[in-house]
Symmetry: C2
Subunit: 355 residues, 2 copies
C-alpha cells in the first residue's frame, strides 16, 4: 500500500503551521515547565519567564536562497544584516530588547570563506547596532542552497510587554514608516536581474538603481524599529503591537484575530510614498496594493487608546494613524477615498500556496 | 578585479568556526548583556544567566538531507526524534534539563503533509520523553533539500553545571554505553541502500537488518542520556563532561584542550561490543577505529576525581572507566593491549574538510 501523500501546497503554510501547533500544544509537561511558558507556539515570538518580573522572548527565522533571497542581487552583508533584522523586529514588536542570538548556517561549496566573512560582517553590524550578543549556533555544508537562520532571545519587563491580542474597539491603528517600499524595491531588483540576464555583454552591465535607492535599501537592508518600539512599549495606552513582515493587511489580521476585533483602514490616511507610486506605475500595478499587501517592511503596526492621540503625536511624532479597530470580528475593510467600503480579503504572503 | 575566493574546505569546518567565533567575540555590548553571558560562542551550548541562581543553556543544531541524513533509510519519525536528541544531548552534557525548543524546518515540494506529521511525531515523542516544550520556530519551503533545525533551551542550577574545562590530571575518564555502534549501524544502512539501488526488482527488495538492530537503532534513534547526566550533574567529583557527537577521540580532545590536559585511553578497558566487532569485520575495518572515531553516539564522556571511583560504581553502575587524564597538554594516546602507546591524531569528523 502506498502511503498517503497530501501536497503541502494543498493546505498551505498557515494550514501546516496550524496543524503543527495543535500537535505541539498536546504535549503533557511538568508544571515547572508550563509555568515558565507564557506564550508558546501561537506567535512568531515565544514568551517565557525564567525568573520573576522579567519575561524572555524567543524567536527564530530561516532565510533560504531561492525562496527568501537571491544572491544575484543580495550581497552577503545585506543578507547577514537582514537575517538579524527579521528576527530582531519580532523582539521589538513585543516591546522587548535583544539579549543574544544563535546563528545556524548551511553553506554550499560555491560559498567562499570571504563570502562567509561578509555574511558575518552584516550579522555583526546588526548585532552591534541593536546590542545583541552572538553566543552560538551551528555551521554546516549544504549540498543544496545557502540557508541562514537565527534564533534571538530578548527580554522585556512584564509591564512593557506588548502582544497582538490587546486591541480594543475604537483603538486607533498606527504605523511607523512608509509602507510598500520593500515590495517596490524588490520589483526593481527583479527587473534589473532580468535585464542583466538578458544583456549581451554581462561584464559591461550597469544596473540602474540610483533613483530607487530608498526602495531597494528598504528591501535589502530594512531596519528594526527599536527607536519606536521602546517608546511604545512604555505606554500603557499602546494596546497591541506587531511588526509588518507579511504585509499590512495580513499582520493587521493577526491583531484582529487574536483580539477578537475587526478594523477599518482609511485610504486617504495611508498617504502613499511617491516612490512607491512611481514604481507601481512602471509595472502597471496598484500602489495601494503594494501598501496593503507588500511584505518584509519590518515597520511597526500598533493600536492605541483613542484618548491618547495627542500623547502619540508628542511622543512619537513620526507615527501615522491609518485606521480604527472595530467590533466586527475579523472584518477588515478599507474606506476608499470616495467613501465606499472595500473588504480586504487577502491573507498576505503564504510560502506554500501556489499564487 | 575578481573578489578573493578561498574555498571553505581549505580552512575546514573548525577553521571556519574559529574564524567566526573570533569575530563574534569582538562585539562591544552593554554590561547588562555581557553580565548575562557566562559562556558564549566557544562551545556547542551557550550559558546565560537571566536570573540569579539559575543558568540557562542554549544550543542549536541543523540536520541537512544529503549531509546529515538520507531519506532512503531514515524515516521522518526517526529524523524528528534524532533532531531533538542531538540538541537535548548537548543540554544533558552540561548537567541541565530541557525547558523549551524552537523548531525550524525547510521543506521541498516532495515532502507531503503526512511526512511532516511523521516528522513531528518523532519530534514530539522526544519532547514528551525528555520533558521539553515546543514553543515556536519557523516553517518554510525549500527549493533544495529538506532541512530541520532545533534550538533548545535548558536550565541548570549553578552548582550542577558541568563543562568541558574542568578535567584535572589523574581524573578517571568515564563513558556511558558501548561506543562504535552508531557508525557500525550507518555502515549497514549504507550497504543496504546500495543493495536496494543495485537490485533488479526494487519493489520486492527486502532489507537484511534484523541481526544489526542494535547498531541501526543506535544510529537512527539515539537516546539522550539524561538518566546518567542528571546523576552525574549532582556529583561534585564529576569534573568535566561532554556528549560524544564527533567521536570519542575528538570529544575527548575538546575536554583536554579546554582543561589544558592530556589523556590516556586503555584499549583493554574499551571492551568493544561484539556487534561492532562483527560489522567492522564485514567491512574489513578496525572495530577499534569505530570506537575511537565513530560519531553520533550521544553517549556521555566525563572525568571524575579518582578518589570517588567507588561512589561511581555505586551511583552509576553502568558507567565504564576507559582512561585517565594526564598533565601532558593536548597529548591524547591509547595504551594498546600489548602495552605500547599509540598517539591519537585524528580530530574526528569535519563537515568541510575533504576526506
Amino acid at each position: 500500500m502506498k502511503p498517503k501523500h497530501t501536497s503541502i501546497s494543498k493546505i498551505g503554510e498557515f494550514g501546516l503551521i496550524e496543524r503543527l501547533k495543535n500537535k505541539c500544544n498536546e504535549l503533557r509537561l511538568s508544571e515547572k515547565i508550563t509555568d515558565q511558558i507564557i506564550l508558546g507556539i501561537d506567535d512568531d515570538t515565544a514568551i517565557t519567564r525564567p525568573s520573576p518580573g522579567m519575561l524572555q522572548l524567543s524567536t527564530s527565522d530561516l532565510l533560504i536562497e531561492g525562496v527568501h533571497f537571491d544572491l544575484t542581487y543580495t550581497s552577503m552583508k545585506h543578507l547577514g544584516w537582514k537575517l538579524m533584522v527579521v528576527n530582531l523586529s519580532d523582539i521589538a514588536a513585543m516591546g522587548g530588547v535583544p539579549v543574544y542570538a544563535l546563528i545556524t548556517i548551511a553553506l554550499p561549496a560555491k560559498i567562499s570563506v570571504e563570502m562567509v566573512d561578509d555574511l558575518y560582517e552584516g550579522i555583526l553590524h546588526a548585532a552591534q547596532t541593536y546590542g545583541c550578543a552572538i553566543i552560538g549556533g551551528d555551521t554546516n555544508t549544504s549540498i543544496g542552497n545557502t540557508m541562514v537562520s537565527a534564533m534571538i532571545t530578548g527580554e522585556v519587563p512584564d509591564r512593557f510587554l506588548k502582544r497582538r491580542n490587546g486591541a480594543k474597539p475604537e483603538d486607533l491603528i498606527c504605523v511607523s514608516g512608509n509602507l510598500g517600499l520593500s515590495h517596490a524595491g524588490l520589483q526593481i531588483l527583479l527587473r534589473e536581474k532580468k535585464r542583466f540576464l538578458d544583456s549581451q555583454q554581462q561584464s559591461e552591465f550597469k544596473s540602474e538603481l540610483s533613483e530607487y535607492t530608498t526602495a531597494v535599501t528598504k528591501h535589502l537592508a530594512p531596519k528594526a524599529r527599536f527607536d519606536i518600539s521602546m517608546t511604545a512599549a512604555q505606554q500603557e495606552w499602546v494596546h497591541a503591537m506587531i511588526d509588518i513582515s507579511d504585509g499590512l493587511a495580513s499582520d493587521l489580521r493577526h491583531i484582529c484575530k487574536q483580539s477578537g476585533t475587526g478594523a477599518l483602514l482609511f485610504e486617504e490616511k495611508l498617504s502613499i510614498d511617491p516612490l512607491v507610486e512611481k514604481i507601481a506605475n512602471q509595472f502597471g500595478e496598484s500602489a495601494l496594493d503594494y501598501v496593503l499587501f507588500g511584505g518584509e517592511e519590518y515597520e511597526l503596526l500598533f493600536t492605541i487608546d483613542p484618548e491618547f492621540e495627542s500623547k502619540l503625536s508628542k511622543q512619537m511624532p513620526d507615527i501615522r494613524i491609518i485606521g480604527q479597530i472595530t467590533e466586527e470580528k475579523d472584518d477588515i475593510a478599507l474606506i476608499q477615498s470616495d467613501g465606499s467600503k472595500r473588504t480586504i480579503v487577502s491573507g498576505g504572503y503564504d510560502h506554500f500556496k501556489k499564487e
